[in-house]
Symmetry: C2
């Protein structure tokens, strides 16, 4: 498996499956043709017209939209045609930084093909010039990719927190990192991808942070999402990436970007260097 | 001036000015309509057909193409319709890493809208957690942007060297950096842009390197291209970038990318953070 194959996997989708979904004229997502047909049962909330789906313009405020869509989702969950509620609200925006057009339960985000945002933290140690990274193993009871390897810390971006606040919260939950240590994490860029998923289209934006941790620090999970942590040589991680799918599907993008930024891949010897640089941000 | 304006300046071009230019079926450049008309005087080398220009397929080897195009350029230089020869050969490729379709004098690269490659080196020092960068001032006799501020080291990528070899050569010439110090430069990614220029289209790919230099190191120019070096606080450089065009036109891209990678811009406070991350690679 070439490094570029991880990027291809995160950017595989079939546009013909989807109809655009808009709110108040903003293109903010996409729904499968099947799901659009189901939304036709709720004409007081959704309008399908000209091969596109929109929220009814009469729903003119974020609060009204949030309530109306949640009401529809609740009906659909009972019929098994929408995913089980996660109880965490995401902001629905056309562009990061915009005020939200509405809020929506995290599980329903791919159902409407809404762009999700998240934070990923590379935890690393330097020794004799070599870099080692703290790699998490996802708990066996995770719905998504149980048992796969993961970044030291990663999490979706809920409504009501800024990125740094979310990073501090996730760092405490996932790796037992104290707030003053998490404050030292350095924002180092943004990655993006877009793929077909079980419930629909998944366009994702990952805000990436690096944190060099002390040699005597060991991450310790507190929320049950991680079963173990291992401190791995960068070269061993690269070997794993080149030889299969040990990592959760989107984590290779974060690691490839880390390897590029830290000079662990060379443009003189990595034939697909330029494709990798472009590829980790293909879905931004 | 917003940071994003530097990126817009490097990505301003009018596609309607140009016709595509191909060699052996490879799209490798673009020529202005005016220049295409002048090439019509050399039908044994160039063919204009269907709003596109191509090198004659009978010129089947890199050597034959290089000689034929240089012969045409020599005639055009005498007539003042091609730029003065620089005496440095660039490789002409569709994709970085391909074998060259031909070589061409550096000055003629924008005339044919051929993608150029180069290396840029951020030289920096850390003190009490703050980062300072070594900034060059271009000599007053430079043809391009005399007197403007520049990276510690930067240079085009000539035929016959790999990137690291070129970086070592340029580091010695521009900043008096010994080979063993230049070897420590870390490749950290690639940037790209595409703009209208005096002679035609300029698509450019910049391989970026970071080098943390010792506190007692001072760069010293040896080839006359730099008139002075200054060690500047990152925050002062950011202020300069936000307040005008003190830097050579493409250097802000390298600096903005440096600020992003080193956490000197925050996604929580820089409203155009995502546009900047995308923008510095817009032309890749």
């Amino acid at each position: 498996m070439a490094l570029i194959d991880h990027i291809k996997r995160c950017n595989a989708f079939d546009p013909s499956r989807y109809l655009p979904f808009t709110i108040a004229g903003h293109p903010i997502g996409a729904v499968t043709r099947d799901f659009a047909a189901k939304l036709a049962a709720f004409p007081e909330v959704f309008v399908t017209e000209g091969a596109a789906v929109r929220l009814r313009d009469e729903l003119a405020t974020p609060e009204a939209r949030t309530a109306a869509v949640e009401d529809v989702l609740e009906h659909m969950r009972e019929a098994g045609s929408a995913p089980k509620k996660k109880g965490e609200l995401y902001r629905v925006v056309e562009h990061w930084g915009d005020g939200p057009l509405m809020l929506i339960d995290r599980a329903a985000v791919p159902v409407f093909g809404i762009r999700a945002f998240g934070v990923h933290l590379n935890g690393f140690v330097r020794r004799n010039g070599a870099i080692r990274l703290w790699i998490a193993q996802r708990a066996a009871d995770r719905v998504i990719e149980p048992g796969k390897l993961d970044n030291m810390v990663a999490g979706g971006q809920p409504a009501g927190l800024d990125l740094r606040e979310n990073l501090i919260k996730e760092s405490a939950e996932e790796a037992g990192i104290a707030s003053d240590m998490a404050q030292k994490a350095v924002p180092v860029g943004v990655l993006g991808y877009c793929m077909d998923s079980e419930w629909g289209l998944k366009p994702d934006t990952l805000f990436v942070y690096d944190l060099e941790v002390p040699a005597d620090f060991t991450p310790r999970n507190t929320d049950g999402e991680v079963s173990a942590f291992r401190l791995m040589e960068a070269s061993d991680i690269l070997d794993l990436l080149r030889n299969g799918q040990s990592f959760k599907f989107n984590v290779p993008l974060v690691l490839i970007d880390f390897f590029i930024r830290h000079g662990l891949l060379s443009p003189d010897t990595e034939p697909q260097y330029l494709d990798l640089v472009r590829g980790v941000r293909a879905g931004l």
